[in-house]
């Protein structure tokens, strides 16, 4: 039963996931932590961190959440729910895309969605900080990460490794 609920909750979310699965972090937190109490804040943060350290598309954080809620069936249900509705939409739309690409309403939606995605991703970042109850050391890491990521071409994986190492020291 929980698998079915998970499937429909995530399928609904996938239809507003402008900016990809990353943009859904605040709403996924609401669904799995606040509404259904499937996990606590700390676990949500941990799963997000694990997804950061794993290879693959961003959507895998959804897989991990599903796994934690209902094991293998939950992982598959959550992942399929996140991918299926829009995959089907694009399967049906692709042949007509050239017909409406460049139309005024299509350009308007593309332009209009961009700032919403920015807001969602920013909200996702504040949500992680809140859920993890970051102290000053964590905020220092956040600031340093923003700076290095924007100012250098260093691969983010190195930052993740470094963050894990600093975390191991117990200061964060």
């Amino acid at each position: 039963m929980i698998v079915v609920t998970l499937f429909f909750e995530f399928a609904l979310l996938s239809c507003v996931a402008f900016g990809g699965a990353t943009a859904l972090l605040p709403e996924m937190h609401r669904v799995v932590v606040e509404n259904h109490h499937w996990m606590d804040d700390a676990t949500f943060t941990h799963l997000y961190a694990i997804a950061q350290g794993a290879p693959g598309p961003n959507v895998l954080v959804v897989t991990l959440i599903g796994w934690h809620v209902a094991g293998l069936a939950g992982a598959l249900a959550a992942t399929v729910a996140m991918c299926l509705p829009m995959s089907m939409a694009i399967y049906l739309l692709i042949d007509r895309w050239e017909g409406f690409a460049g139309a005024r309403w299509q350009k308007a939606i593309s332009l209009g969605v961009a700032p919403l995605a920015v807001g969602l991703i920013f909200s996702g970042a504040t949500l992680i900080a809140q859920a993890a109850a970051f102290g000053w050391a964590a905020w220092l890491i956040v600031g340093a990460t923003v700076f290095v990521n924007l100012k250098t071409k260093l691969h983010p994986l190195w930052l993740i490794v470094l963050g894990g190492a600093i975390g191991l020291s117990g200061w964060v």
């Binding site: 609904l12 239809c15 507003v16 990809g20 605040p26 609401r30 700390a42 943060t45 941990h46 950061q52 350290g53 794993a54 290879p55 693959g56 598309p57 895998l60 897989t63 991990l64 992982a75 991918c83 829009m86 995959s87 694009i90 399967y91 692709i94 895309w97 050239e98 005024r104 309403w105 299509q106 350009k107 308007a108 939606i109 593309s110 332009l111 209009g112 969605v113 961009a114 700032p115 919403l116 920015v118 920013f122 970042a125 504040t126 992680i128 993890a132 890491i141 956040v142 990460t145 924007l150 983010p156 930052l159 993740i160 963050g163 894990g164 190492a165 975390g167 191991l168 020291s169 964060v172």
Partner: protein, 188 residues
């Protein structure tokens, strides 16, 4: 997309090739694999020209959901129809999912250890910083910032502060922000 300009006729991948190629893409990147998908599709396998890739990506970003999964569906459909549209995204996701299952099992077993929790908090802090940086970069890419960035601020207020439900916020936001874009497109 004229037929003569596409490399379709020279190398038309079968289901196996689609599965393997997208599997390698799925396992190559951390925090997003789109650049690897582009390299594979355009430069290595030449399944799409650069122009085709950009056009398809436009559609994949136009729709919500994971862009790179949508892209796999489109490429799969193009070369192997409905089966291809299933096999390509499954290839993309199955490798990373196995890795994630392994990590999830490790977490279930060792996740309660303080040392593991400390490490994950450090990684979460980096992940949080990467999200802020991503939002910043996406914000910089927006044209006519004075008109559209206020909508980003409204979304943050509604989602992060007021905690309003996202589907309604997105519908309202899309109506306002898309409506403004529609009006502005008409004027220029």
């Amino acid at each position: 997309m004229s037929a003569a300009a596409t490399p379709e006729s020279q190398n038309r991948p079968d289901l196996r090739a689609l599965f393997l190629a997208f599997s390698s893409v799925g396992l190559s990147g951390f925090g997003g694999v789109l650049p690897f998908a582009r390299r594979m599709l355009v430069e290595e396998r030449k399944w799409l020209t650069a122009e085709e890739f950009n056009a398809l990506l436009g559609l994949c970003q136009f729709l919500p959901g994971p862009n790179v999964v949508n892209l796999a569906v489109v490429v799969g459909k193009r070369y192997q129809g409905a089966l291809g549209a299933i096999v390509a995204p499954v290839g993309l996701l199955s490798g990373p999912m196995l890795v994630v299952f392994g990590l999830a099992m490790l977490y279930e077993r060792y996740g309660s250890l303080p040392v593991v929790q400390d490490m994950l908090r450090g990684i979460a802090a980096v992940g949080c910083g990467l999200l802020f940086a991503m939002a910043w970069r996406m914000g910089l890419a927006i044209k006519s910032k004075a008109a559209f960035l206020p909508f980003a601020v409204l979304v943050v207020a509604a989602i992060a502060w007021l905690r309003w439900p996202m589907p309604w916020v997105m519908l309202a936001g899309l109506a306002l922000s898309g409506g403004l874009a529609y009006v502005r497109l008409g004027r220029s």
